[in-house]
Amino acid sequence: MDRQSPHRMRSYLAPALFIAPGFILFLVTVVYPMVQAFQISLYDWKIVAGAVSTFIGLDNYIRAFNDERFWLALSNSGLYMLLTVPPQVVLGLAIAMLLKDKSPAQPLFRVLYYLPVVTSWVVVSLLFRYLFADRGLINFALDDLLHLTDGKISWLATRWTALIAICALGVWKGIGWSMMIFLAALQGVPRDLEEAAIIDGASRWRRFLVVTVPAIWPAMIFVVIMLVIGGFNVFASVIVMTGGGPAGQTEVLLTYMYRQAFEYLDFGYGSAIAVILTVLVFVLSAIQLRLFRDPTGDAR
């Protein structure tokens, strides 16, 4: 059993050739920047040619922890995640359940719900900015049509209302995506189990909990984790709808990072924020994977 036999070596050549081109690009353009982000975050980084960047240790991180605007941006990102992930999961699954049986209308509905997903963030952000304008359609519907609000709301002029508008966009644009994933997963629910449950006289809700949910659990984990990551990734909608305003009140972590880096050219501080965000996303993903590991607990 010679492990280094020529045959063995040759058998590693094929996978190496298949993997190398993509992987080398990946190493250079993704992994190396990942490492470098840490490095930059420890420096007072100078972008100007010839200027010397000085090592300042954890100063950028300490600065972030004492920076009120950083905490505001972090809480806005967190709020965005909390306000957009549950509706996307619940509504996406609900629509998928309503749509799962083949019917003549199914393909049409699928396309209509998915339309916002394929539309550019910049375009839908502009569209929502227009809908939430002082004299826009939302105010018209709430005030003039339904009389739910007392007068017109300047949605994009205060922190909370602007966040609501931004979250409304996030949910509207994302529902189709989770619906599509759930719709695909629902095809994999075992028919015989479902029929057995019907024969046993299980109610719809019970069938959903006992048969459907366990069968689509991997899809559920996938959707939740991706949406949480996506929630912290919110950027274009904030830039376009409010520009982080009024007075930085709706700044989220990524817009704040972007401003530090490309407006104030403070690459070190920008990188520190990016690193904090990355760690946060990783920790959240790890916690979720652990929590979600077994849906039925002891029942399995």
């Binding site: 996978p15 993997i19 353009t29 920047p33 990942m34 963030w121 376009v240 990016a274």
Partner: protein, 273 residues
């Protein structure tokens, strides 16, 4: 069961209406003159209808150039990314070698890090390679950003192809590349279509990276150009939406023509987790 069925259709239709109304309103606004766009009560059917916004976008702006830039970037990045990802996915799915899982996990790491978090070091890297303010700079980093997801998606699909088929071709003397090109790729068409759509949509719409590295107006892609149409005061909404509609047409076309593949690909690839 009849009433339940009707109720279901009604709920679905109401939901669909909520999804579609903003689009219809956007089309309507793009056909209005500026003095009508924020009028109350709003006009759902524009009166009078005007094509002047489209005329201004198509004839009196560089829209064609931005469109071409977006097309070049999205098509090149998608082609390169799907090819490289398919090769990687095949390598991971069909061969055993030391460190395979370790390498794959490194790739998954890339899946978990949103692209924009790497924007600062990637900017420095692009600067080092002289890729700032160039379409090539967009293409290279768009490929980089989509490799992990595509490889992940395609690997599951390649693993589902029965090894016996591979074995049979190997006995017939087919090389590794032939088996990949002639057997695995054709069988993986639905998953390839999914990867193609995902990548095309993502690159066509990408905003943050383009905003960071593109400085010359003649190199702007559509998302940047459209975002810049907002004036500091008093946006020309009709104009903005005429440009927006023209910009999202290709995306909607791609989605509508591929959507059968798309669902198939999702079913068999992505959900396996």
């Amino acid at each position: 069961m009849k009433p339940v069925r009707h109720l279901r259709l009604i709920i679905l239709a109401l939901g669909a209406l909520l999804m579609v109304t903003p689009f219809l309103y956007m089309v309507s606004t793009s056909l209005k003159a500026q003095q009508y766009v924020l009028r109350l009560p709003p006009q759902f059917i524009p009166d009078p209808v005007t094509l002047s916004n489209y005329e201004r976008i198509l004839l009196r702006s560089d829209f064609g150039l931005y469109f071409l830039n977006s097309l070049i970037v999205a098509v090149s990045a998608t082609t390169i990314s799907v090819l490289l990802s398919a090769m990687m996915a095949y390598g991971f799915a069909r061969y055993r070698f030391p460190g395979r899982e370790w390498l794959f996990r490194l790739l998954l790491l890339g899946l978990m890090i949103p692209a924009i978090m790497l924007i600062v070091p990637q900017f420095l890297l692009a600067k080092y390679f002289g890729l700032i303010d160039s379409l090539l700079g967009l293409i290279v980093f768009y490929v980089a950003g989509s490799l992990a997801l595509n490889t992940f998606l395609l690997r599951g699909f390649f693993e589902a192809i029965p090894p016996e088929l591979d074995e049979a071709m190997r006995i017939d003397g087919a090389s590794d590349w032939t088996r990949f090109w002639r057997l695995a790729l054709p069988l993986a068409r639905p998953a390839l279509a999914t990867a193609t759509i995902f990548t095309f949509l993502a690159t066509w719409d990408e905003f943050a990276w383009a905003l960071a590295i593109i400085t010359s107006p003649e190199k702007q892609t559509l998302p940047i150009a459209i975002a810049l149409l907002q004036g500091p005061k008093g946006t020309q909404w009709g104009l903005v939406f005429a440009a927006s509609i023209l910009a999202i047409m290709p995306v909607i076309f791609v989605f509508l023509s591929f959507q059968r593949h798309f669902v198939q690909g999702l079913t068999s690839g992505a959900v396996k987790g």
